[in-house]
């Protein structure tokens, strides 16, 4: 399908809308593309999209065309969707029923794929968010044979080799996407290890069954008929993301867990030896390899705190060194970075603010740092004096006066504050 060819009868504004069943989360998009996709609501016409997207108009066109090709979008005209032949049944008719007189949106009779099959693809895509056993069309407790039989049956319909060299237009990518999903469902359900996870996932995330509140949740889940209400799609997606990274082979998962354990142990060893940075790095890797392990996460907060302290110390040392070498710009950058880890350090805040002010850098930032110092240590005359001086430099005389007076009240012998105040 190409731009311009699709406005089925020409004229009017063309409006893209999401293809039924398309899961935008499965696409890989740049932020700009993500934004553009988020603006597509089935009402916003192309001309408006060109104006509001964070992309040049030509890029908008190109991106939309690509999405149409990939089967993400279909073109439509506003008001055209209720078919002109108003007596035709709605487009959600099951595939077995007689076809409506006007082709449903996205159906293109010129393709080398029967209209029935196109409808089947659209319908099937709409179900890809459902639990795995529903994708395969089997009961939750189906045996291996039934699962394989369902998988083979669907493969015959959706394996891309079925359509070798045929012109499927946007359906080529959609058929392949369906097959990959069917394969994923089959892999996860046919391996007893991953299947348990799938069932547990459904059990944990399905709403409690109101009909039999006494039944234990796990039992209710495993006995739930195929027609049970599907769990929250977002939760299902989360589960699927987790399971697909589990992959077919449980062994791979165990290997990762083992690796995670190794990292965690070396992290803890480093922690005991007070090599905090190393410890934090290792524990972080452990979490990366085994994100579900709560004990790694809880240990991480301790390790991270220590690591932050160490990092801050290192940064401060470096900053002081830079300062002594009169490399003030670098010193300021390093103090700021250290402050990121030591937000509670009044002296550091003050030092950073003062340096920022002296460098004539960003006065607002300087003020923020000095204010933070004053908040952390309200009785420190020096901090108030600095804040006053910064206000003065920024031309905020009233504020400057107030801070300098506070400084003098806290330390009446502060000559510099007095002079500054007088100068005001």
């Amino acid at each position: 399908m190409r731009l311009g060819k699709d406005g089925s009868s020409g004229g009017g504004e063309r409006v893209p809308h999401l293809a039924p069943g398309c899961d935008p989360a499965s696409l890989s998009l740049t932020p700009a593309e993500g934004y553009l996709l988020s603006r597509i609501d089935g009402n916003t016409p192309l001309s408006l999209l060109r104006q509001i997207a964070a992309l040049p108009a030509a890029d908008v066109d190109r991106t939309l065309e690509r999405w149409v090709k990939e089967g993400v979008l279909v073109w439509d005209k506003p008001g055209a969707r209720p078919a002109p032949q108003a007596s035709a049944p709605p487009t959600s008719t099951p595939p077995s029923a007689p076809r409506p007189a006007a082709p449903a949106p996205g159906i293109d009779p010129s393709l080398d794929l029967s209209v029935e099959m196109q409808q089947r693809v659209i319908d099937f895509e709409a179900c890809l968010d459902r639990p795995y056993h529903e994708i395969l069309g089997v009961a939750l407790d189906a045996d291996a044979k039934a699962i394989k039989s369902a998988y083979f049956g669907l493969s015959k319909q959706f394996h891309p080799d079925r359509y070798f060299r045929r012109n499927l237009g946007p359906y080529a990518a959609r058929v392949e996407r369906i097959f990959k999903k069917v394969l994923e469902a089959y892999e996860l359900l046919s391996d007893p290890a991953t299947r348990v996870e799938v069932q547990r996932g459904l059990g944990a995330e399905a709403p409690p069954a109101p009909a039999s509140p006494a039944a234990p949740a796990a039992k209710a889940a495993s006995a739930a008929p195929a027609g049970a209400p599907p769990p929250d799609p977002a939760a299902a997606r989360r589960l699927r993301a987790r399971l697909s990274s589990l992959g077919r082979h449980h062994r791979a998962q165990q290997e990762r867990r083992l690796k995670a354990k190794g990292f965690f142990e070396s992290g803890m060893a480093a922690f005991k030896k007070e090599r905090w940075l190393e410890a934090a790095g290792s524990v972080r890797l452990a979490i990366a390899f085994d994100p579900d392990n709560e004990s790694y996460r809880s240990a991480f907060s301790d390790v991270q705190r220590k690591a932050h302290e160490e990092r801050a110390r290192a940064l401060l040392k470096e900053a002081d060194g830079a300062f002594e070498l009169s490399d003030y710009k670098d010193a300021l950058r390093l103090y700021e970075e250290a402050l990121h880890y030591r937000a509670f350090d009044a002296e550091l805040s003050h030092k950073t603010g003062r340096l920022a002010w002296k460098l004539g850098a960003d006065l607002r930032k300087a003020k923020e740092y000095a204010m933070a110092a004053c908040e952390l240590a309200p009785d420190n005359a020096l901090y108030h004096r600095t804040l006053g001086q910064i206000y003065k430099a920024a031309g905020l005389a009233a504020n400057a006066k107030r801070e300098l007076q506070t400084a003098l009240r806290l330390d009446p012998k502060d000559v510099e504050a007095r002079q500054e105040l007088r100068a005001l």
Binding site: S28, L29, T30, P31, G34, K148, S149, F152, G153, S155, K156, H159, P160, D161, R162, F164, R165, E176, F179, K180, L183, S244, S245, G247, R248, H249, A252, A280, G281, R284, L285, I287, A288, A307, R311
Partner: protein
């Protein structure tokens, strides 16, 4: 529309088949043989010979006769297997400009892709003569354990031969297709394929007209030629002992030994003892020497029993991958000439606890399967669907030289898999994604398919950035890999263009050369 042929491009013999009137049939060559030796020779006067003609003159022209070049295709010159060949082959093997092994015959260094193309062209010609019409499309088989470069070289060879290669499929898979063709039963099938140069084992399940590859394993450097080599070495040792002459340096003697060994081996499948007679095999100060010795089936079995035992280890691993035990298999199919050896048949029967299936011809079944897949892809009927798998694991190199597999071997294609990775150094702003193929835990021991760099990662402590790496394999086996920084959305990707050992320019050049040669040959 022209028809699709199936070609089994074997190490020692090749075979071509086609579907006629909904039935597969093997096409005989002009001499009436259903298989053609995968041999190529350049004669003294510069004539090029292929197949039986090349084989017939091999003894008198050993240095300029190429056989078993499939063992070299898609490999690097440094590979141990290539070095082994250099030691054993009578023809010269030199380092090509792409670090590939090239075969020197008739004063010219041929790439292995080129040699394969010459044999494919011959098979194409055989089919065209039989059909009386041009043939342009083919499905070609390769050993299951061929890696991407080896497959790509085979594909390139097809192109040079003037064929559009619709699909490269695995030999054991093809054998299973041939076995399953027209069957309505549900079965689990093991295909034990011991050919001239390679060994493959595949476990497949067939039901409802769908054939699913459950697992496949093998060794690209183990086959009937190794049996021959054992016999040749035995003969050489025997002769050195009896006559005090080392035949190793004598190319012509080696070729005679090889032929005699192969013949003796084949004869021993029918008989208990054979006599090997090679008069005038050498000469020294005392005049000509003759080699004459008896070889018994028992001695032969003693020479090769460890090779057979090795194949069963591979079978065991494959069964483990398929999650089956030997009694779950309903049918065992033997493929490849070497499976005619009684000891091999017995070992396989013992392992699976049942006699192998007798209904297929081990030399022809692979080509038949290839033609069936060609038909399944292109015909309107489509009553057969092959769910093929990726033969080797795919993944990326990770910190410390490890190999993180994203797609395990034997995964059905098309498929998509993703995993989150992170940085290993503080403030690391770029990661290099090295795409690897192989089974070793150590990155360096796998084949590098391609690499790219993802930049612009936020400066952060190691382990904090999240980088999603995803692998996609489409139905044609084309791999694309992308890496995405989940925080910034930055993305880099490559399509792994499986590279053979030749680039596009070199392929075009060879095609032109061949056209020129064809014109000269005709003129």
């Amino acid at each position: 529309m022209s028809r699709v042929i199936g070609i089994d491009l074997g190490t020692t013999n090749s075979c071509v088949a086609i579907i006629e009137n909904a039935q597969p049939s093997v096409i005989p060559n002009a001499g009436g043989y259903k298989t053609t030796p995968s041999m190529f020779a350049v004669t003294q006067d510069g004539k090029r010979l292929v197949g039986h003609l090349a084989k017939r003159q091999a003894i008198t022209n050993a240095r300029n006769t190429v056989y078993a070049s499939k063992r070299l295709i898609g490999r690097r010159f440094e590979d141990a297997e290539v070095q082994k060949c250099i030691e054993l082959c009578p023809y010269g093997i030199v380092r090509g400009q792409n670090d590939d092994p090239r075969i020197e015959v008739g004063g010219k260094a041929f790439t292995c892709t080129e040699i394969a193309s010459i044999i494919l062209r011959e098979m194409k010609r055989v089919a065209e003569e039989y059909l009386g019409e041009p043939v342009q499309e083919a499905v070609i088989t390769v050993p299951a354990y061929f890696n991407d470069p080896q497959r790509q070289c085979t594909k390139d060879a097809g192109r040079i031969a003037g064929l559009e290669v619709l699909r490269i499929i695995n030999e054991p898979t093809a054998a299973a297709l041939a076995y399953g063709f027209g069957k309505k039963t549900d079965e689990k099938v093991a295909v034990y394929d011991l050919g001239g140069g390679t060994f493959d084992i595949s476990i497949l399940e067939m039901s409802q007209g769908v054939i699913e590859v459950l697992a496949t394993a093998g060794n690209t450097f183990l086959g009937g030629e190794d049996f021959d080599r054992r016999v040749v070495n035995w003969l050489i040792e025997h002769f050195a002992e009896s006559d005090g002459i080392d035949l190793r340096g004598d190319a012509m003697a080696l070729q005679r030994l090889k032929d005699a060994a192969e013949k003796a081996k084949c004869d021993l499948s029918q008989r208990e003892v054979v006599e090997i007679n090679l008069p005038f095999i050498a000469s020294d100060g005392n005049g000509p020497r003759h080699l004459s010795i008896e070889l018994s089936r028992e001695t032969l079995e003693g020479l090769v029993h460890d090779i057979v035992a090795d194949t069963l280890k591979t079978v065991e691993r494959c069964m483990g991958d398929a999650g089956l035990s030997s009694k779950d298999v309903d049918q065992v199919i033997l493929v490849g000439g070497q499976t005619r050896m009684p000891m091999v048949q017995q070992a396989v029967a013992d392992y699976f606890g049942k006699r192998p299936h007798k209904g297929v011809n081990p030399d022809e079944v692979v080509a038949v399967g290839a033609s069936i897949q060609g038909e399944a892809l292109t015909s309107e009927e489509q009553n057969l669907l092959l769910l093929d798998v990726t033969p080797l694991s795919l993944g990326i190199a990770t910190f410390g030289g490890h190999f993180a597999k994203l797609i395990e071997r034997n995964t059905t294609v098309p498929v998509r898999k993703a995993h989150i990775f992170t940085t290993t150094r503080d403030n690391q702003t770029a990661v290099k994604i090295r795409v690897l193929q192989g089974e070793s835990e150590t990155a360096a021991e796998n084949d590098l398919l391609g690499e790219f760099v993802l930049t612009g990662i936020r400066r952060a402590p190691k382990g904090e950035p999240e980088i999603e790496v995803s692998f996609d394999i489409d139905a044609n086996g084309i791999v694309s890999v992308s890496a995405r920084d989940l925080e910034t959305g930055k993305e880099q990707s490559i399509t792994v263009n499986a590279t053979g050992t030749l680039d596009e320019g070199e392929i075009q050049q060879i095609i032109e050369e061949h056209e020129l040669y064809e014109v000269q040959a005709k003129g």
